[in-house]
């Protein structure tokens, strides 16, 4: 190399270095803009967690989804927030739903409830007398009989946009709300062009699209015998919702007996049939939430219902035996050897 050529190259060195540094910054900036984003919030009485992958400014889209969950919970479905349509309906026994949003949820959920005699959308009288979130108390048989009568679906009627409650019937979306909110968040994310996302609202998880790590998302199934966040198995799924109902979190104990927060609408008593948790995987979030609750009440008897609705399930019994749907074979993996698995 001749002397003057070498000089020219050497003059360029600082510029090349600066360009390289600039490129690194630009790359990390763009990468960060498109990287996986996770946002948290609170709604439906539980934590909300949304992870968006492969979208530009995923955090903004995730925030929109959290805002939508808050809106649906606070203004439509909540039975504890004074701003919600359900709260007003329960107070006044009458509600003119001009927007039609609550009506749509009522119709959808009433149709689901009609598939299971032990479920009701008017479950608030039952949750009120058992007061699990207040520490729990055992009601008298007269209180129980009254609550069962009040929880009967015939106390709910709709005429045009007018919704009417009678005989003490009060709506609670406890068995549907988290699933419904999860579904509405997923729709916001899809409309926001997220390529893939995971939405957790309490016990319900919704997944869709590209995980960036293969075809499916691995979702853990809570270990009912261990602390929150610990899972005994995983399932590889995509484009679906998973809901779990169990007796290991919301319950009280008296004289050595556990009373959980899910009630049989026919008897008014907490579900108790050897099952400690039921996970349902289905195409809709409201549906998976409903089915996991119904199957928790029905126990193994609920398998027929899940099959009719084309939903997959994981039933965990108190003796640590697990029943899964045949179609989950290969996708379901035990993470803890203490459990024994059979499929039907």
């Amino acid at each position: 190399m001749r002397g003057d050529e070498l000089k020219t190259v050497k003059k360029l060195v600082p510029f090349i270095c600066i360009a390289a540094i600039f490129a690194v910054f630009l790359f990390s900036f763009v990468k960060d803009m498109y990287s996986e984003k996770t946002l948290y919030g609170f709604a439906c009485g539980s934590e909300v967690k949304i992870t968006v992958s492969g979208a530009k400014n995923g955090d903004k889209i995730a925030q929109k989804a959290i805002d939508e969950i808050n809106r649906v919970d606070s203004y439509v479905l909540s039975d504890t927030k004074k701003t919600s349509a359900v709260y007003i309906l329960n107070e006044q026994n009458e509600y003119d739903d001009r927007s039609g949003e609550l009506l749509e949820y009522i119709q959808k959920c009433s149709e689901m409830v009609s598939k299971c005699d032990k479920m009701t959308l008017l479950s608030k009288p039952l949750t009120d007398i058992w007061a699990i979130s207040d520490g729990g108390r055992i009601p008298s048989s007269a209180q129980l009989a009254d609550a069962v009568k009040a929880a009967d679906m015939k106390n709910l009627s709709v005429s045009g946009s007018k919704i009417t409650l009678s005989n003490g019937g009060k709506i609670s979306f406890g068995a549907f709300g988290k699933g419904a909110c999860c579904e509405s968040a997923v729709n916001v994310l899809k409309n926001g062009n997220a390529k893939g996302a995971v939405v957790t609202v309490g016990g319900t998880v919704g997944v869709f699209g590209d995980s960036g790590k293969g075809e499916s998302f691995t979702v853990g199934v809570r270990d009912p015998f261990k602390n929150a966040g610990e899972y005994f198995a995983t399932v590889d799924v995509n484009d679906c919702y998973l809901s779990t109902s169990g007796d290991y979190e919301k319950y009280f104990e008296k004289d050595g007996k556990r009373y959980c927060h899910i009630f049989d609408a026919e008897t008014g008593l907490p579900a108790d049939n050897g099952v400690t948790s039921v996970t349902v995987i289905s195409k809709g979030g409201t549906e998976s939430d409903f089915l996991s609750t119904a199957m928790f009440i029905l126990g193994e008897g609920g398998i027929d219902l899940a099959k009719r609705e084309n939903a997959e399930f994981i039933i965990v019994k108190k003796d640590k035996s697990v029943i899964i749907s045949k179609s989950l074979e290969g996708k379901f993996k035990l993470a803890d050897g203490d459990f024994s698995v059979s499929s039907v």
């Binding site: 967690k49 995980s211 009912p224 602390n227 929150a228 899972y231 919301k250």
Partner: protein
């Protein structure tokens, strides 16, 4: 003939390496030593769980950390689900007090950790 590498070159190259190292340090791998306390879904504080025992109260939730774990000792909520969650020490473990909108989570995700847990 002049030397191939001048003093200026050495300075520039050193500066680039130092900058890269600095950026690397700024983005440490999460090892399960820190926990994040969130209020209303927003980060409130990040704490080291291996330090001295410390108690802090946020929104009516009293949280104890140090000595290798973190737990919710007490809360003004009625159901105490957050207290029942027990001691957290592994990556991804969490305790949530929904009534007080407070959550505690050990930072980091192990390689094979699931995306979410239903239950």
């Amino acid at each position: 003939m002049r030397r191939l590498v001048t003093r200026a070159d050495v300075i520039i190259i050193t500066a680039v390496i130092l900058l890269a190292a600095f950026l690397w340090v700024l983005n440490p791998k999460e090892t399960g030593e820190t926990a994040v306390i969130r209020v209303d879904g927003k980060e409130y504080i990040t704490v080291n769980i291996n330090g001295e025992l410390t108690e802090t109260t946020v929104n009516g939730v009293s949280i104890v950390y140090g000595g290798g774990d973190i737990y919710i000792k007490d809360s003004t909520c009625r159901d105490k689900i957050c207290v029942k969650a027990g001691r957290l020490s592994k990556q991804g473990q969490s305790a949530v007090c929904a009534p007080n909108r407070v959550s505690v989570e050990i930072k980091g995700k192990s390689k094979n950790a699931p995306w979410a847990v239903t239950g």
